[in-house]
């Protein structure tokens, strides 16, 4: 009987561990879309990416549709190129879409905001490897303060 009790409690122990692991997997860890294999890559050139990092989110109206894959520097024009992997669930963005680098909150992390453009005849949807032409760079707080000081010094 003693052994049965030990086995029962070991069973409880294992169940507790699985519960802890599940809690970590479901509530603590991000369910990133990098694991789901179906993504396609879009590129965008910015003048300044501010504090954007690989794995930052790509959002449309606040909904995460993908992640920043890599950030490289164009060797000819010295502008950063951001590669974004977008889930194939969202493959209806027209070519006229624009992207901008936004900040969540005043000091929060930066993400890429994708603004879907209009879609009329003759405008195709973006596909693997396309470049998004219309980009807005990150707002760098220091530049903004500098501009403000400069313009207020004129008066």
């Amino acid at each position: 009987m003693k052994s049965r009790k030990a086995e029962l409690l070991v069973g409880v122990f294992v169940v507790l561990t699985i519960a802890a692991g599940l809690m970590l997997a479901l509530k603590v860890v991000n369910q990133s879309m990098s694991n789901s294999s179906d993504t396609y890559t879009l590129y965008a050139k910015f003048d300044n990416i501010g504090g954007l990092k690989p794995r930052s989110a790509v959002k449309v109206g606040g909904v995460t549709v993908g992640r920043v894959d890599s950030i490289t520097l164009d060797n000819e024009y010295f502008t950063p190129i951001v590669a974004m992997s977008i889930s194939t669930e969202f493959d209806q963005f027209p070519e006229t879409s624009s992207v901008s680098i936004l900040t969540s909150g005043l000091l929060g992390e930066q993400y890429v905001g994708l603004q879907p453009g209009f879609s009329i005849e003759g405008i195709e949807n973006m596909a693997q490897g396309d470049y998004i032409e219309d980009t807005k760079s990150a707002l760098v707080l220091e530049d903004l303060i500098g501009q403000f000081l400069f313009s207020s010094g004129d008066d």
Partner: protein, 259 residues
């Protein structure tokens, strides 16, 4: 001339100890495994080392999570960044405190008990009697304890981290009023399964292996007197705590040091 002899004897003794420890490990785990006999014995030992350590691990996890939330809050609120409390608590638990504190508790709670038990078996000549009956004590006594330790401790560390995060939620969200949504969602966007959770589990497996190896070997190799057992038990706790802290630095440097 005498001191030279001393150094030589000391060095030889150390090397011989490493050899005996490796031989014990090899004979207990690798040579001729008998899973049918081993599994029931291991389950019994998981009950002794794992289940019975559950209470101390859960209580410490809860309180460490609560204290971290309290301390973190008082600092973060000065920057208006109390939303980052979630990732702070989760990351420090998963990466460091979960594996390390569980390992230290495990060394004190289960490691010392293993050493004392095996040491007393040796002192009362139970191990010799087993050998007389043609039962290999390494496989009958040591192997199940080694496996039980290696299996239980990572499970305890996982439970520790999960309970700690809930404890942080208890203090941070329910008491101090951090927004529950930002506690979980910023945590989710920061914590990575491979990088944080898996590395924490790898750490705790390494710690578990080292602690149970030291504990079983110290018991098996102890001088079979009451003094010898007391010394072996102390050495188990001291050596395995130091080994855990040293290894933790090396593992952290390897895992998180160079991005």
């Amino acid at each position: 001339m005498n001191w030279l002899i001393n150094i030589g004897a000391h060095t030889l003794e150390r090397i011989a100890t490493v050899g005996r420890a490796s031989h014990m490990l090899f004979a207990a785990i690798i040579a001729k495994p008998q899973p049918l006999k081993l599994i029931p014995l291991t389950i019994k030992q998981i009950y002794v080392v794992g289940v019975q350590s559950l209470l101390i691990v859960v209580v410490s996890g809860l309180f460490i999570g609560m204290v971290m939330a309290l301390q973190g809050y008082t600092i973060l609120v000065g920057y208006g960044a109390e939303g980052s409390l979630g990732p702070m608590v989760a990351l420090s638990l998963l990466r460091e405190l979960g594996p390390v504190v569980t390992a230290l508790l495990f060394a004190g709670r289960a490691g010392s008990a293993l050493t004392a038990e095996i040491g007393l078996m040796k002192a009362t000549e139970q191990l010799s009697s087993l050998e007389m009956m043609a039962v290999d004590p390494l496989r009958r006594v040591i192997a199940p304890r080694l496996w039980a330790g290696i299996i239980s401790m990572p499970m305890l560390a996982l439970i520790f981290s999960a309970v700690g995060i809930l404890g942080g939620h208890l203090v941070g969200v329910d008491w101090l009023g951090v927004d529950a949504g930002s506690y979980w969602s910023i945590m989710q966007s920061t914590v990575d399964w491979d990088k944080d959770v898996l590395n924490g589990i790898i750490k705790s497996i390494v710690f578990a292996f080292v602690i149970t190896w030291i504990a079983t070997f110290k018991g098996y190799d102890s001088v079979p007197t009451s003094e010898g057992i007391s010394k072996a038990t102390t050495e188990t706790v001291v050596f395995s705590s130091l080994a855990v802290l040293g290894l933790d630095f090396i593992l952290t440097a390897l895992m998180f040091g160079i991005e």
